[in-house]
């Protein structure tokens, strides 16, 4: 197995009085896509937010490329090379698509060639380049949010449920984009409920339940293991069509 880029060791996170993460341990190997699966409320989003520093872990370690980042300020974590695509997409509606991309680029203006590459997957962004992001449809906002995360090469991208409520055609484009990114050796940690999407892209599957990691194996193994799927994910009817 490839060397770990990100490692969580016994991470506990509280939100107010609620104990959400109760000792999360897993690793994300360099250059792969790891998919975090699990039921609603299992703690997947909290895990991403804890990595990003948006919630502070009360115990445990978050190690990114050999350095402990648990409890550090969010901007520092972002500058260390982690990009975040939240479930709510976090698009700035009052800013234009261009302005959204400008803010996402940490090293001055976005690179023209890189933008063309992004427009290849998400042509709508080019069309609405000078429009306020607020006028975009839900799917287009998701494209923009992902585009912001990849406007410059990042070492790790955290993506929270990008396919939620998105039309199948756009999901196809996403799959293409992520496949390209994987070819670039970008490491991705994806939270996903859509098992087919996860299956198409993931190298590793990590399953959460009740604030803990309950299962970890390669995506290929999990795909073959319908018993585990049913037991841990409740996947029997809806996604296996």
């Amino acid at each position: 197995m490839a060397e770990a880029l990100l490692t969580l060791e016994g991470v506990h996170t509280y939100i107010g009085q609620y104990h959400i993460l109760q000792g999360v341990d897993f690793t994300v190997p360099r250059g792969t896509m790891t998919v975090l699966l699990g039921r609603n409320g299992a703690g997947k989003t909290t895990t991403l937010r804890t990595i990003m520093g948006l919630w502070k872990p009360s115990r445990g370690k978050v190690i990114f490329d050999g350095a402990e980042i648990g409890g550090r300020a969010t901007p520092d974590i972002a500058l260390a090379g982690i990009a975040y695509v939240p479930e709510s997409m976090g698009v700035f509606a009052d800013l234009t698509v261009r302005e959204n991309m400008v803010l996402a680029a940490q090293k001055g203006a976005p690179d023209a060639a890189r933008l063309e590459w992004i427009f290849g997957f998400f042509p709508a962004l080019k069309r609405f380049w000078t429009h306020p992001a607020g006028v975009l449809s839900g799917g287009q906002k998701q494209m923009l949010s992902i585009a912001r995360a990849v406007v410059e090469p990042r070492r790790l991208i955290l993506i929270d449920e990008p396919t939620k409520g998105i039309a199948p055609a756009i999901i196809e484009n996403m799959i293409r984009a992520f496949t390209e990114l994987k070819r670039d050796e970008t490491t991705i940690l994806l939270v996903e409920q859509n098992f087919r999407f996860a299956q198409a892209l993931g190298d590793w599957a990590v399953v959460m339940d009740d604030g803990r990691i309950v299962h970890r194996e390669t995506m290929a193994e999990l795909s073959a293991d319908t018993a585990t799927q049913t037991r841990l994910l409740g996947l029997s009817l809806e996604t296996h069509g």
Binding site: P86, G90, F92, D94, V102, G134
Partner: protein, 325 residues
């Protein structure tokens, strides 16, 4: 800042033309309308920082009135030794003296804002109730300190020679200082629009107003941004306070509390966090204040409450609601 939604802009001419038949005399109407523009600009200068600070960090500084007053007092103190320049019959010297006084006022209140943010506001982030209490406490202390340093009696704040009186165009007399106030207000508005729309700092502020967490996740320290906006907002309050005192030609420690009520109404009807809404709201409030001040002076402030109620019934989040995450 103001995109595609032009409907609220029509309120200004609508209010003006509604007032015309009530006032009757067109000359008086023009004078009042220009007075309203001048007053609106001053209120805008005072309010703009407050609304941005709120939008960016969800912090409402009830002590903002203290900056208005302290700015005015600093300007007055600066003007004392420059009496010669102020009384000289030279517009250049007059404006130089005023400019210097305004700069001192802004620098002083900006610095004070920085200290206020560190000492008063930082410890109570995210706790609205304590924030209101603490900043109100800060207001009490600051107003009392004005008494300690400058005494409690009313101070004269004379206009420089060249800005006294009015110029007459046809039948209409326009007070010179009001023209200056409009000019300063417009400069502040356009400078702010330029910064907010054309610079990365401005983009970050606008993005932060909408979703501060995402700005942090993109790698920017929103706290620094906030401190910068807070200091700028305090400095603008100091500038606005100076203008207001010159406009009233007198100065008391209560000057801040006097204006702050109008300021709150302005930022509520503008939409908390919206600079464009604040600009429009300031003009509307000043129009209402001037028209009713002429027609029925006793209910001037009450009429602005009515304006606020009507606007909030139309748009509960204000004229230009800020999109929140």
């Amino acid at each position: 800042m103001v995109r595609s939604d032009y409907l609220p802009l029509l309120l200004v001419p609508a209010l003006a033309f509604l007032a015309l038949p009530l006032i009757g005399n067109p000359t008086t109407w023009v004078t009042l309308t220009i007075a309203a523009l001048a007053m609106g600009m001053m209120i805008f200068v005072i309010s703009s920082g407050l609304t941005l600070v709120f939008g960016l960090m969800d912090v409402l500084n009830f002590g903002h009135g203290a900056f208005i007053a302290i700015g005015a007092y600093l300007a007055m103190t600066t003007l004392l030794p420059m009496a010669g320049w102020m009384q000289a019959d030279s517009l250049t010297l007059n404006l130089a003296a005023l400019g210097l006084a305004m700069l001192v006022a802004m620098a002083g209140t900006g610095l004070l804002g920085w200290a206020f943010e560190r000492v008063i506001i930082m410890p109570v982030y995210g706790q609205h109730l304590k924030q209101i209490l603490i900043t109100t406490g800060g207001l009490i202390v600051a107003e009392q300190l004005i008494h300690v340093f400058w005494g409690g009696d009313q101070k004269p704040m004379a206009l420089p020679t060249a800005l006294r009186g009015a110029i007459t165009i046809g039948d209409v007399a326009i007070e010179k200082f009001r023209l200056l106030a409009v000019a300063i207000g417009l400069v502040v508005f356009f400078a702010m629009s330029l910064i907010l729309n054309r610079t990365k700092l401005g983009l970050l502020i606008r993005a932060g107003v909408e979703n501060g967490e995402m700005v942090e996740a993109l790698g920017y320290r929103i706290r620094r941004l906030f401190v910068a906006v807070f200091v700028a907002g305090s400095a603008l309050a100091g500038l606005g306070g100076t203008m207001w005192a010159l406009y009233r030609e007198t100065l008391t420690a209560g000057i801040g509390s006097e204006v702050i009520v109008l300021v709150f109404i302005v930022i509520i009807i503008g939409g908390l966090g919206s600079v464009g809404g604040c600009f429009l709201g300031a003009i509307l409030v000043a129009q209402m204040a001037n028209y009713t001040g002429y027609l029925a002076p006793k209910v001037a402030l009450a009429s602005n409450i009515l304006l606020m109620v009507i606007i909030l019934m139309w748009r509960p989040q204000g004229l230009y609601p800020v999109a929140k995450r």
